[in-house]
Symmetry: C2
Subunit: 222 residues, 2 copies
């Protein structure tokens, strides 16, 4: 059952639903109303109902949602429930963080190898993941097909490394280099721009400060 016509905004919220439903399952909650789920997620009950209606008819009026069922359903839409082999280009901080991110393995993500150009990294095994020379990436992919390629290299080589991964049969790229990767038809990419999320934070801080200046409250005198 493919989920057609789900808007980008809902897609962005899907992983959050999955995360919250997992938490509920962990603490033994089996059923939840749209009100309760909304309160936890910072959304309105009507938003929750609208979103969930987008991806099927689950839950009955007045009975709330079956947590395990909804989590499994959303997991299915997200493509979970199978194993994803990963290769990671760039064995620096970001590459290493991805290689052993807590909870990845239990969701089916399996980092097979990291690739780098630095002699002091090549040949090491970092938290169970071997680091090879990036010149071996193509040959490695011939032997070990991978589903997901992680790009954690400097920006100037990111597109080139992506190209090698694509030629090696990788069809999904998770990119941390500060550029927007160009990918051909038949390949998907998600660009994570860490600076972008920092700038959303400074935006909010700046707006909050502007509001405070416009309507000063003498907190110090309270």
């Amino acid at each position: 059952m493919a989920a057609h016509r789900i808007s980008d905004a809902v897609i962005r919220r899907l992983p959050g639903y999955y995360r919250y439903l997992r938490e509920l399952e962990k603490v033994g909650i089996t059923r939840i109303s749209s009100q309760e789920l909304g309160a936890r997620m910072g959304l309105t009950a009507s938003q929750i109902r609208q979103d969930i209606n987008c991806f099927g008819t689950l839950g009955q009026q007045g009975y709330g949602y079956n947590v395990a069922e909804l989590r499994a359903h959303i997991g299915g839409i997200l493509g979970l429930g199978r194993k994803y082999e990963m290769v990671i280009a760039g064995a620096g901080n970001i590459g290493q963080a991805v290689a052993w991110y807590p909870g990845f393995s239990q969701r089916g993500f399996s980092p097979a190898a990291m690739f780098d150009v630095k002699p002091d990294l090549i040949g090491r095994v970092i938290r169970g993941v071997p680091v090879y020379n990036v010149t071996e990436l193509r040959a490695f992919l011939e032997e070990h097909p991978a589903d997901i390629g992680v790009i954690a290299t400097p920006a100037r080589v990111a597109q080139q490394v992506a190209q090698q991964m694509i030629e090696g049969g990788v069809r999904a790229l998770w990119n941390f280099a500060p550029i927007d990767l160009k990918v051909p038809e038949g390949v998907v990419a998600n660009n994570v721009h860490l600076t972008d999320s920092l700038l959303v934070l400074t935006y909010r801080l700046h707006q909050m400060e502007a509001r405070e200046e416009a309507a000063p409250q003498n907190n110090l005198d309270a």
Copy 2:
């Protein structure tokens, strides 16, 4: 000139505008049409015009936008053009990646210190940033007020560390721990869930594969 009533979707796109406009400036482009900017950013010209109308009247019909002016204007909305002192809790891979992220310093972000619990990290200076015991966080903030607190700790201590930062006067939290931080009025937080962006990628891969199964193309025979 505060930017009121900008929708969340536009706010999320603002850092992207800033990034693309910086790139244009770097390569010496001084003026750009909504068509050209849209083509680069993967947005329609009308989307670009709508977005830019949200935050002021810049550019004239037929003349395009002045790149430097628009970049400066968006930078102002994002709260750039000042210095932000940062403290980083958690000196692991994510904390270290943030501490020396390329381009941070030129945008005004200055990591003052990292804090950790691991004896082998405490006392070290990693790429110019000292690592202190997390027990010293509050005292450090008394002496060195910080604008932004980065949470790169395990999930189980993230809320507690956030609390200490808030008590120490930090008003903006950039959180990488896989929980949604709760913050009081007068504090802003942005939660970066790396797994969420990976699941958006598996969603797209899964949808692409489902479409291919529904309408197979014999690429191999081509």
